[in-house]
């Protein structure tokens, strides 16, 4: 897939309490040409996203930090480990999706354990993807579409991306933390379509090795439409 030379670089926030996994995900993301910030906990992730100061009922020992961080640091995707002490990846996902300023940021969950109920819970809560560890470079191919989709949403552009070079504005529903100072490539639209198609075939391929433990069952009632995976879940 050809990138326009001036294509904006996506910024991914990676959350994992394991130093090894942080090192790995950072390398994988950088190899995929993303800008990366890593943190070792959910609360640090929220702090980075500028959320911790708003409502802090999580940890009484955490100082209340109100920052304007969210205005300056745009995050296009959060990828988080599921199993973390204190705030789990699921808790972090919930906090992000419950926040009016952050809910449009796509969230991906990683886990070393293939637990169907866990996977479905995360997807139902709004996670875009669920990756089994160790995460591979090919898994990250799925991320770009999610990030581009959210960028469009935040610029209040219609789905057909009519004016990709319109200067960025902050609107009532847009998420300030997802804005960047870089402009969108005019090639976004065809790329998006291309990616969606690639997504489908990748999803079909990855179904075999990532989802093998999940049996067919009734589809859960999902609030968010998902095209990347036709995962159906066993109810526990």
């Amino acid at each position: 897939m050809v990138m326009a030379a001036a294509e904006s670089q996506f910024h991914v926030l990676a959350v994992d309490d394991s130093i090894i996994d942080r090192k790995l995900i950072e390398r994988l993301l950088k190899t995929s040409s993303y800008r990366v910030t890593t943190v070792d906990s959910g609360s640090k992730a929220l702090e980075f996203l500028g959320l911790l100061g708003e409502e802090d009922h999580g940890n009484p020992n955490q100082p209340c930090i109100c920052t304007n961080h969210s205005q300056e640091v745009a995050v296009n995707l959060v990828i988080t480990d599921y199993c973390m002490p204190g705030m789990t990846g699921y808790d972090l996902l919930k906090r992000i999706k419950e926040s009016s300023s952050l809910r449009n940021i796509p969230v991906v969950i990683m886990s070393s354990e293939n637990v169907p109920s866990r996977i479905s819970r995360c997807l139902q809560e709004g996670a875009e993807e669920f990756f089994l560890k160790p995460v591979r470079l090919s898994d990250l191919n799925k991320l770009k579409t999610h990030m581009m989709k959210s960028k469009c949403k935040n610029h209040q552009m219609p789905e057909n991306l009519e004016d990709p070079e319109r200067p960025e504005e902050s609107t009532a529903t847009s998420s300030p933390s997802a804005e960047t100072s870089e402009f969108q490539s005019p090639q976004s639209q065809p790329q998006l379509k291309q990616q969606q198609q690639q997504q489908q075939s990748q999803a079909n391929n990855s179904n075999n090795n990532k989802r093998k433990a999940v049996e067919e069952g009734p589809s859960p009632d999902r609030a968010r439409p998902r095209y990347s995976n036709d995962l159906t879940v066993v109810s526990n």
Binding site: S18, I19, K23, T31, C83
Partner: protein, 136 residues
Amino acid sequence: MPTYLTSDSELWFNLQGYLDEQFIQLEELQDDANPNFVEEVVRVFYNDSARLIRNIEMAMGKNPMDFGKLDDVMHQFKGSCSGIGAKKVKRECTRFQDYCKEEDPEGCMGAFQAVKQEHATLKGKLDAYFQLTRQC
């Protein structure tokens, strides 16, 4: 980028059984901009796993054993092993976790010895491997 673990190399023959596909993935992430990536990851692994082993040792010393806590720490350790492709060590970690689930203290102690043994053996092999690849 050079991959030293080709199927016909002596190195591969030596390391086979100890490492899985994940190690090859790490090698593929190494490039001119990050020429020592694999060695760095392995170094971080051994530093971090030394800490986890100490935690397990402390928890094993408690009477009665806190099998839940032991399982948790071993889960972390196993995750790290998974990250570098340490196949054999991982296998012993799983055995340990099985004994935790059965709440079998002797089983745990034996399995923990095996974990430490494989962990040390792998270190020796990796040290030799990196020394060799540095010479290339």
